[in-house]
């Protein structure tokens, strides 16, 4: 059994209440940080832990914190990104729904480290019920003196607010989140300036994912060094993985960084193998934005060693043979899954979610979706595959925010690794699916 740092007490009674949370050692890190440590010492522990942002990009959290402009004379803000909208990702939801106090505890300690007087949790509008859970927990924290004026007599004061979004994926992008929080249309800003210099209302701001902030709690409790002992290389600690797709046990798993992908898919502790005893065909290991990998590239790296669940190992080989850990949305496809349909589905999502600010993404996402739709429904042409490749190439890297890249990568990877399936769709427009809309077995996939 791997160690659990975040979900250790998931199934304890009343863990969602202040009482239950305190019984299981809750709010120790607040006591420790506010009473015994300076803000810089807290930041130092986070740096030592090697924690990397769990929102997708994997940027070192301690490093990000050190970029915060502390001399501007303006208020500083910590924003928790709870907009979790990436298809395939649902880990933050579990954390907030079941153990809301863990996030609040992390927010208090992190805000203390960053010197924030007010902090916000920006939560996606679809999680309205979780907003209520969080608000209840925040009220409990105020009542216990963990929030508000002069917390635990330390002289440090913090107000924490939860703010709902209105149902846009793009508001998970940090600058769009800031715009939305300011009450504006959620369009990503053009960077620089980065939020650490000019973010919310022009003030220095840090945006962190729910899981990143929650991870600060065990880091402060046990020390950064202890946290860094888990994992391999620059991937330290534990990571929540949202596993879905054709597996026996979909769900959220906390893994120690560094277990092998094969173990994660096949062991009974985690996904429990492919459903219905079918073969593994492909996997999107980090949420819909990251490249899909066929089974032979997924399980092994180019040097023949097993691929591990770490930032480095999953991206080994670049996009030619690798992918990304991303936000940990692990989507598994069995041999009957239709890659073209899946790619179309993702393209549909990005088409729907593009904010429409910059032309390559606004126009390109719709175009890709329509071409993919044609191929999927038997109206495709061979040239369409090259056209798709060309469109994605012209979007990637040419947009304001990474949503453009996120729309381009899945299409590129699907064509790169599964071109034969696209060609098959074009060649046999009427033969692609049986009535359950699953792929015909005539197409054999590569064996590991």
């Amino acid at each position: 059994m791997g160690r659990k740092l975040l979900l250790e007490h998931l199934n304890k009674a009343n863990i969602n209440t202040m009482e239950g949370y305190l019984q299981n050692g809750g709010y120790r890190s607040v006591e420790k940080a506010l009473k015994k440590m300076t803000p810089d010492e807290v930041t130092e522990e986070v740096k030592k832990s090697g924690l990397r942002g769990r929102g997708g990009a994997g940027f070192a959290t301690g490093m990000k914190w050190s970029f915060l402009d502390r001399n501007s004379g303006k208020p500083r803000y910590l924003l928790c990104n709870a907009d979790e909208s990436e298809p395939g990702t649902f880990k933050d939801r579990l954390l907030m729904e079941k153990i809301p106090h863990l996030l609040i505890e992390g927010m208090i300690v992190s805000s203390y480290a960053l010197g924030c007087r007010t902090s916000y949790i920006y939560i996606r509008g679809e999680y309205m019920f979780i907003l209520r859970i969080l608000e209840k927990a925040i009220a409990e924290a105020y009542a216990k003196g963990y929030l508000g004026e002069n917390i635990l007599g330390s002289g440090y004061s913090l107000d924490l607010h939860v703010h709902p979004g209105a149902g846009a994926y793009i508001c998970g992008e940090e600058t769009a989140l800031i715009e939305s929080l300011e009450g504006k249309r959620g369009n990503p800003r053009i960077k620089p300036p980065f939020p650490a210099i000019a973010g919310l209302w022009g003030c220095p701001t840090i945006v962190n994912n729910v899981e990143s902030i929650a991870a600060v709690v065990p880091i402060i409790n046990d020390g950064g060094d202890e946290y860094a002992k888990i994992g391999i290389g620059k991937s330290t600690g534990t990571k929540l993985i949202s596993a879905s797709g054709n597996i026996n046990k979909p769900g959220v798993y906390e893994i120690e960084m560094g277990i092998s992908v094969e173990e994660f898919i096949y062991s009974d502790e985690y996904c429990g193998g492919i459903k219905n005893n079918l073969e593994l065909k492909a996997c999107v290991p980090g949420g819909s934005s990251v490249p899909i990998l066929p089974n032979h590239l997924l399980l092994k790296m180019s040097d023949g060693n097993p691929r591990l669940m770490t930032y480095e190992s999953l991206s080994e080989g670049g996009f030619a043979t690798g992918s990304m850990l991303g936000s940990g949305g692990f989507i598994v496809y069995d041999e009957k899954a239709c890659i073209v349909r899946n790619t179309w589905n993702f393209a549909r999502f990005y088409h729907h979610e593009s904010c429409g600010q910059c032309s390559p993404c606004r126009e390109g996402t719709g175009w890709m979706e329509r071409v993919l739709h044609n191929i999927e429904y038997g109206h495709g042409k061979m040239e369409d595959i090259d056209l798709l490749w060309d469109i994605q190439r012209k979007i990637e890297g040419n947009t304001i925010c990474p949503l453009g890249d996120a729309a381009a990568w899945p299409v590129a990877a699907a064509i790169r690794h599964f071109r034969h399936e696209f060609e098959y769709h074009v060649k046999y427009p009427n033969r692609v699916f049986d009535e359950d809309h699953v792929y015909q077995p005539e197409m054999k996939m590569q064996k590991v």
């Binding site: 429409g356 390559p360 126009e363 719709g366 175009w367 040419n398 304001i400």
Partner: protein
């Protein structure tokens, strides 16, 4: 003063100048701009046609920038080296952007009122492909009156956001903005014909395409059959410096004066624009400078004037 080299031409510019502005100072191979408007704060960065390649970040940090950058929103650093037309990657990306801009833009210039002074028309003429690869239905909207003087033809809009910035920055009553998202986002007012302020007409001038047109001028004449003449009057609200567009003896419309980048030199008020259409209202200065090379400049009213350049060519 930071020194920047664009396409092998070096120039000293004031700190904080963007790459695009530096290129305009040089005056050669200037990246095109569809959404950037030097007079509007916060404009630019959206259309992506001005993408350039930064091959050297600065003297201090010579690393190249990993992606193409929007030249209109990237400040120059001392020692920066930029490639615009000398980079095949930039040309390729720009061609891609033009294609994207035309994906949902109707290709009906012959019946569009903006033809002849449309920046997208010029841009696609210079950078686009002759044929579109897009085979699907374009998005469509109803045309709408968004003020008593302005027609909104959303089908033609490329979402440059300039008109919303005019609304924000020239007036204190902002009543329109962008609704919806992605491809189907639209410039709109919540209430039809809601736009009613003294500077609203400038929205028409900043629109790079035929999305916002002057209802008092629509379909009266092709722009290239009208003759632009500079004129001025004493106006209490604006500078009163305008361009009158004549057909014969009749003033068909009044607009602001445009500089060589197609931007208004000074915004004008609605009184000058809509209510002063008799020659007797104005002091005539003479034929207008038309510097942009577009369909309209084929009439060669006059030679383009020399650019005020402080450039230094390096061998």
């Amino acid at each position: 003063m930071p020194k920047v080299t664009i396409d092998d031409i070096t120039i000293d510019v004031p700190a904080g100048t963007t790459i695009l502005e530096a290129a305009r100072m040089i005056g050669e191979n200037v990246p095109p701009a569809m959404c950037y408007y030097s007079k509007l704060k916060g404009s630019g960065g959206k259309c992506r046609v001005c993408l350039v390649k930064v091959t050297k970040g600065s003297e201090k940090d010579p690393r190249p920038m990993p992606k193409l950058v929007a030249s209109c929103r990237t400040a120059v650093m001392d020692g920066m080296e930029v490639k615009n037309v000398t980079s095949p990657e930039v040309i390729e990306a720009r061609k891609g952007v033009v294609e994207f801009l035309l994906v949902n833009h109707p290709l009906d210039c012959p019946v569009c009122d903006q033809a002849g002074e449309c920046h997208l028309q010029d841009l696609s003429y210079e950078h686009g492909a002759a044929k579109s690869r897009y085979e699907f239905k374009r998005r469509t909207f109803e045309t709408r009156d968004i003020g008593d003087k302005i027609k909104l033809h959303m089908n033609r809009c490329i979402l440059c956001y300039r008109c919303t910035q005019v609304a924000d920055q020239l007036t204190d009553q902002r009543v329109h903005g962008v609704l919806g998202r992605g491809e189907v986002s639209e410039i709109s007012t919540y209430i039809e014909t809601a736009i009613d302020n003294e500077f609203s007409g400038n929205m028409i001038d900043v629109c790079p395409v035929g999305a916002l047109t002057d209802k008092t001028f629509r379909f009266k004449s092709r722009v290239w059959f009208t003759k632009p003449v500079y004129a001025h009057r004493n106006c209490t609200k604006c500078t009163g410096k305008v361009t009158l567009w004549y057909q014969g003896e009749e003033v068909l419309r009044v607009t602001s004066r445009k500089d060589q980048w197609g931007e208004s030199e000074a915004f004008i008020c609605n009184e000058c624009r809509y209510d002063k259409k008799a020659t007797s209202d104005w002091k005539i200065e003479g034929p207008a400078h038309v510097d942009r090379h577009s369909v309209i400049s084929q009439n060669h009213y006059e030679l383009p004037f020399e650019l005020p350049v402080t450039q230094k060519k390096l061998q």
